[in-house]
């Protein structure tokens, strides 16, 4: 099959940008020590291997540890052949970019062997035969084959082989194909009944079922592409040979099948068994996400306050140009969706300017400009709500405009603004979850990563929701306390 998760073009772009960022990082840090080009023996060597971040069951994190079929196979082969591996979890496209620039020696990432790729990489023997399979809800006894799909809707992954296969037979069997982005959401929609069946990569599907996603397969797998381990063309030949030798050895001694079975057959292998277990296992990643959420919100809101003060004052200024600029700013950022700016800053701006824009920079820009527009309106409203007599009284005492604003008007305006500002802070915190669309590792993003690996969507979302709720309640209490303290 063509590589999974071809997904939306934005996703591909994100990975290329991440690849570029990682390339730059590696340049700064210095090339890895163990680029052992074409050496005679692999024994005792250390190889740097790039892989994807999350593509269950091939590579994913469990309790912080990188695990999965690819990881287990690679480690077993390395042990068998007597070399060491240093694994870098870079993301799919980033790993390939790192390979091209010799920052890693090889890539194993559930990667299909294609003719296109064969022109730039040398592949090992296929280590996994993939293919598409159809699954339905575990309790569904009506759908037992394609002929039962007449008039029904099925889901498949955007751009993946499952989608093209489903579409190729849709007319023949008279069903409709709806495309979704993630395996986890596809499985949820089958369970929820909005689609009767899902077409997905067989290993992903099998793993999901093994994790207890509540589905069952009802058709045979349609043979598809096969996965291989890749090195740069003509380089690391010894490593490639060792991989092939080790793979053959594992297949012969049964260890290969054992590894596959542990992910694809045993339904209790890796799944967190109950809600509490899931909670304990997901908390570390979710806390990292919460920290990123709070940090990006705090930084963005501080900038938004500064922007809001400047533009808020410009909005009430007597100067028509300043007023025009401020009004334009506010209208632009209030009148367009936040997500649009996230994409614009993360994908558009680097292409327009050639600058490196990190996901943090893009996230902070997006949130602070959006919140800044609202804060500007809050500031304008706050200042205008102060009785003009206050400014007059201060001016009549001989205090200048700036001093009068600072000592008399702003303190009163700020008091009136506080509830709206707290409100905006909370909105910004919640809005920061939209940044998951550009791969910002905030709380909801971490939740997605977790259910992408264990398919327990509802429970994971419930935990994420509770964390958001507690964080926002705490923030509200804190802000109200500060309000009472300083705005007596």
């Amino acid at each position: 099959m063509e590589k999974k998760r071809t997904a939306a073009p934005t996703g591909r772009l994100a990975r290329w940008i991440a690849a570029a960022a990682i390339g730059l990082m590696a340049l700064v840090v210095g090339a890895p020590s163990a680029v052992a080009q074409g050496s005679e023996s692999v024994e005792g060597q250390t190889y740097v291997i790039g892989t994807d971040t999350t593509f269950a069951p091939f590579e994913f994190r469990q309790n912080g540890e990188l695990t999965g079929i690819d990881m287990d196979l690679l480690r077993a082969i390395a042990e068998d052949q007597g070399f060491e591996v240093e694994i870098r979890s870079l993301g799919f496209n980033a790993a390939l970019a790192a390979l091209s620039s010799n920052q890693v020696d090889g890539v194993i990432a559930g990667m299909s062997i294609t003719d296109e790729r064969k022109e730039i990489y040398d592949f090992s023997e296929p280590y996994f035969e993939s293919g598409v399979q159809m699954a339905v809800a575990a309790g569904n006894d009506e759908i037992t084959g394609y002929e039962d799909l007449e008039g029904k809707t099925v889901v498949a992954k955007t751009g993946a082989e499952g989608e093209s296969y489903a579409k190729s037979i849709a007319e023949e069997y008279g069903f409709e194909v709806k495309s979704l982005d993630q395996s986890a959401t596809m499985y949820e929609s089958v369970k929820a009944g909005s689609a009767v069946a899902v077409f997905d990569d067989y290993p992903v599907l099998a793993y999901g079922i093994a994790q207890g996603n509540g589905l069952k397969t009802v058709t045979d797998k349609v043979p598809g592409g096969s996965y291989g381990f890749a090195v740069n063309k003509g380089e690391n030949t010894a490593l490639l040979a060792a991989f092939n030798d080790g793979l053959a050895e594992l297949k012969a001694n049964g260890e290969y099948q054992q590894i596959l079975d542990s992910y694809l057959a045993d339904p209790t292998a890796a799944a967190p068994s109950n809600f509490f277990d899931l909670l304990v296992k997901s908390i570390p990643a979710l806390m990292t996400g919460l920290w990123h959420t709070l940090l990006v919100t705090a930084i963005s809101f501080a900038i938004a306050m500064a922007l809001g003060l400047v533009f808020g004052f410009m909005k009430i200024s007597g100067n028509i140009v300043l007023r025009g600029i401020a009004t334009t700013f506010v209208n632009i950022f209030r009148g367009t969706p936040l997500l649009l700016w996230a994409f614009m800053f993360y994908f558009g701006l680097p292409q327009l300017t050639g600058w490196e824009i990190s996901v943090w920079t893009a996230g902070v820009l997006t949130l602070s400009l959006n919140a800044g527009a609202y804060v500007a309106e809050i500031v304008r409203g706050g200042i205008q709500s102060v009785d003009p007599g206050q400014l007059e009284a201060s001016r009549s005492l001989g205090l200048g405009y700036g001093k009068s604003m600072q000592k008399v008007v702003i303190p009163q305006a700020f008091k009136m603004m506080t509830p709206s500002l707290i409100n905006q802070l909370i909105i910004s915190l919640k809005d920061s979850s939209l940044l998951l669309a550009i791969g910002f590792t905030e709380l909801l993003y971490q939740g997605q990563q977790i259910y992408a690996a264990n398919f327990r969507v509802t429970e994971t979302l419930l935990i994420v929701g509770i964390i958001y709720f507690i964080a926002i309640m705490a923030l509200t209490k804190l802000a109200n306390y500060a309000d009472r303290r300083f705005n007596k």
Binding site: A393, G398, L399, K403, Q412
Partner: protein, 251 residues
């Protein structure tokens, strides 16, 4: 400063052919008025005749459309004049007090002297207490304005206006927003101030008070000075029909 003998005829405020319009609304249509040092001038007239506007032109709270206003030697209409400097010589008391609600009574009074670096905080507070003593509210120094009665608020506002030791005081209907039983205490303070020789312009509806305290009464109608003179003359023997008509309604 002029010589001591000429002091009483020393002109503190000079208004010449003052025009003020808001858009196409001509509110002041050529006002001429002089106020000598130590003089107490009361401005009366029907609502909308431009009394407040005139007063607010004196310290340039309103931009002046045309004409000339000289206050304490400063030409207010000169664009190069430091208006903040001028305002320090002119205290103003508003109908609605306009006390700063987020500051204590003493802080209201200290604000200008301390912020304008005329005094240290301690000196400023000392001065605030003195002024509060003068308006009979020393014990309210640490109170918030919101906890005061209307009469007390206006007395604090007067103390605040006096903080920069101005040579001129402007009052715009200082008692109009007060309950009747509180009018007296505020008028008393204003009267004491007048007795110290302060130059004052008061816009007022209190005809009895104007008659008692004013050296001169100015009757305004439709944006012009219709008639002026000593109180007993203007109230006792008004010359203009407009004045007679107005007085017959308010007295």
């Amino acid at each position: 400063m002029s010589t001591v003998t000429e002091q009483s005829s020393n002109v503190k405020i000079q208004v010449k052919d003052l025009h003020k319009s808001f858009g196409s609304n001509n509110v002041l249509k050529g006002i001429d008025m002089d106020v000598r040092e130590g003089e107490v001038v009361c401005v009366i007239g029907p609502s909308g005749s431009g009394k407040s506007t005139l007063l607010r032109c004196l310290n340039k709270l309103e931009d002046i459309t045309s004409g000339k206003v000289v206050v304490d030697g400063f030409d207010v209409t000169d664009p190069k004049v430091d208006i903040n400097e001028v305002r320090r010589h002119v205290g103003m008391v508003f109908q609605h007090f306009n006390l700063f609600p987020h500051m204590s009574v003493a802080e209201n009074i200290m604000l200008a002297p301390v912020e304008l670096k005329k005094m240290s905080k301690a000196e400023g507070r000392e001065r605030a207490l003195e002024l509060l003593e003068r308006v009979g509210l020393r014990e309210k120094a640490n109170a918030r304005p919101a906890s005061l009665s209307g009469g007390q608020k206006q007395r604090v506002a007067i103390a605040r206006a006096l903080a920069m030791a101005p040579g001129i005081m402007l009052f715009d209907e200082a008692t109009s927003a007060l309950d009747p039983e509180m009018v007296g205490e505020v008028l008393q303070v204003i009267k004491e101030l007048a007795d110290t020789g302060m130059t004052m312009v008061l816009v007022t509806h209190e005809m009895g008070f104007a008659r008692e305290v004013a050296d001169r009464v100015v009757f305004m109608a439709d944006g012009v000075v219709c008639e002026q003179g000593a109180p007993e003359q203007l109230f006792g023997n008004p010359q203009q029909a407009r004045t007679q008509d107005f007085l017959s309604k308010v007295l």
